[in-house]
Symmetry: C2
């Protein structure tokens, strides 16, 4: 029951020259479902990645970090669902490296030029033989037009495949960006993974792409939450093949700003798609925090609101129980926050004026906003000029059911 | 459906010389229920308090802090349920002060010698006239034997009144400690209040009692959580009347250690009673963190586990989905945590050895522990010698129902 989210029209997804995608049914955890994806990348592409901050980073995350050091030129991703290969110790690392070696042999490159990614149950051994046995099938299906099938291949409990494509004009040239993602991380954290990949035909040096990728992640995937549980496997990978006409020379170029905007746009739509498909979600909520001293502080307040089970259950109930939001703001750990300077709006309804209920606020107005499927909570802290948004969902019976039943 | 918690036997609750309790049905929010409590304290008693760290501290909390400055000698508490008087701005402060003035006039003391406490819905005006109108009835019922009725008078959505009494021998003298509490704070955060009061007939100077009260709170009420939402009204008050034979002269006295132990014992049982009566709770869970570098760090890890909705739903499902616990430990923000030094036990079952699933662990063993109503999760971080426990519950459908329906 995703919130205003539909499967992408295959016609809307542009191929990215230099990126081929192929999938297999490898039976990693269950039979007869797409659970293995190979992404082959043409020589000369730049690849960047940002990964989970969880201290129990999964084995594939550790290997990805190693393989991205030194710009050896990444030539492929190998992605499995059904098993996160996390909490698996040294055998997990051996298995992740084995998957790289097997794929490298098949496509003719070094194992260090492969990035492995996994998503699924934590603390169970990765069935590496089944993964390796599935590689030839995936390679046999490699093609530039397979973005939708790739989005399907990384689904776990997602109800809708997530893929987004954009064309942007940058300094008179046309650039293509196409990306896919799967729910997880803070949304499907038992699945233990948020995965996102975006490819573009622009040319951009690896170091610059890495810097940009971190910046884009902070404005997209790092702004979503369902339940606050950062997973062991979160990974966001960008691939710039340089096969199109657009060149991004430096961070000072006009084209860099335009490209950043286009990439952020794709990443944000994928990130929001993950929230819309959040477990048990019935509402899509933006917590917009303004007049903060810093962007970090704004995000801190946004997360305090978005993580409160009481706020989330109130949204589920369509109950404008706004004292719960105020309490969560007070609970965000902002030193020196002055309650009497705080304003709150629910969509356009002015709810809290100067830290207390607005005298003109009528519950019926709050009630009518709460019935919508998309709601903006706008908070002004009266401390400065920074702002940030956090996107989240409500907390429903369905969330408890899904997470209480997931493994069985 | 409290977890292994029953209403206290009235015979088990000892009176504390110098403390009288009386209640009223003042109709603060609903008719015909006990919702107002007056606690009269004999002259010469020491009174100490610790309060919520929420930046949106409720009006009564602000007034309590003012009135505790300068040791004027507290002579009474006035406590209402049904309305938290939080997020109410200046009118809220005026109302809290008016309740003190009205009670002071009736019992003959200064308004500054009264501590006001409130619990209930946030961001609605306190019906101060109804509260004041109820005071004479409460005063008419004042009596030293009314601890159970007092516990009932502060209940909101609690299903069981919470009261604990102890006699302890301290340096050859007998001391009485009796306390009451209501669920809230992180458990019933919409009710917006955890309240706890403990009275004793020991004699102890106000400054020493204040220091002790903070210390005891850190080992009892500050170790519980249901959903991580620190309320606007949390208050823990201790009253030492000095009417018994026990004298606590200084923090170095042998009697101080024994008294601390007795007071901690009462506070911890009350705190655990709040967890046992947690909204929708079906399990009582202790997260015990050992081998931490500091007690603060141990508690930080304990809370990361206890706040994870995925861990909580797994407990609800009796599913030994232990990767979720490992992921939440990795998510606790401990710099330099070495996964390969982490051990985990579920009761006596050795589950994680050196950061990965124990080779000898069998799911059936985890499953059999998960079926119990009381479970200890023991984590060893391999970083030092500090330890701490956090007590919590699971996250059930009932929790969502209660919090989605509470106001309606």
């Amino acid at each position: 029951m995703a919130v205003n989210l539909h499967a992408p029209d295959p016609q809307s997804l542009s191929a990215v020259a230099g990126i081929e995608l192929g999938w297999a049914e490898a039976g990693i955890r269950k039979a007869a479902r797409k659970d293995l994806l190979v992404v082959r990348i043409a020589g000369g592409a730049s690849v960047a990645g940002v990964f989970t901050q969880n201290r129990f980073a999964a084995a594939p995350v550790i290997v990805c970090r190693e393989h991205l050091v030194g710009n050896r030129g990444v030539r492929a991703l190998v992605v499995n669902t059904g098993n996160a290969n996390a909490g698996t110790g040294e055998p997990g690392l051996v298995a992740a490296r084995a998957s790289c070696e097997a794929l490298a042999k098949l496509i003719g490159c070094d194992a260090q030029q492969i990035l492995p990614l996994s998503t699924g149950v934590i603390m169970e051994p990765l069935p590496i033989e089944r993964l390796i046995a599935g590689l030839p099938q995936a390679i046999g299906r490699l093609g530039e037009g397979h973005w939708l099938q790739a989005a399907q291949a990384i689904m776990t409990t997602d109800t809708v495949p997530k893929a987004v494509s954009r064309r942007a004009d940058i300094a008179g040239t046309s650039v293509i960006l196409t990306g896919i993602a799967k729910g997880a991380g803070m949304i499907r954290p038992n699945m233990a993974t948020m995965l996102g990949f975006i490819g573009t035909d622009a040319a951009i040096a690896p170091a610059l792409l890495q810097q940009l990728t971190q910046q884009v992640a902070d404005r997209s995937f790092n702004c979503i939450t369902i339940d606050g549980d950062t997973s062991t496997n979160d990974s966001f990978i960008t691939i710039a093949t340089g096969r199109g006409p657009t060149r991004i020379e430096s961070a000072r170029a006009h084209s860099f700003a335009a490209f950043t905007e286009a990439l952020t746009d794709v990443a944000r739509e994928l990130a929001q798609a993950i929230v819309r498909d959040g477990e048990g979600a019935t509402k899509f909520i933006e917590v917009r925090v303004e007049q903060a001293a810093t962007e970090h502080e704004a995000r801190q307040v946004g997360y305090a609101v978005a993580h409160s089970p009481l706020v989330k259950t109130a949204f589920f109930a369509c109950d404008p129980n706004l004292g719960r939001i105020l309490a969560s703001v007070g609970n965000a750990g902002i030193d020196g926050l002055q309650p009497e300077r705080v304003q709150m709006y629910l969509d356009n309804v002015y709810v809290v004026r100067d830290g207390a209920r607005h005298p003109a606020y009528r519950e019926a107005d709050g009630q009518s906003v709460m019935k919508n499927s998309e709601i903006v909570v706008r908070l002004q802290l009266g401390r400065g000029r920074a702002a940030a948004s956090v996107w989240t969902t409500d907390l429903s019976h369905e969330y408890v059911s899904i997470n209480a039943d997931y493994r069985s």
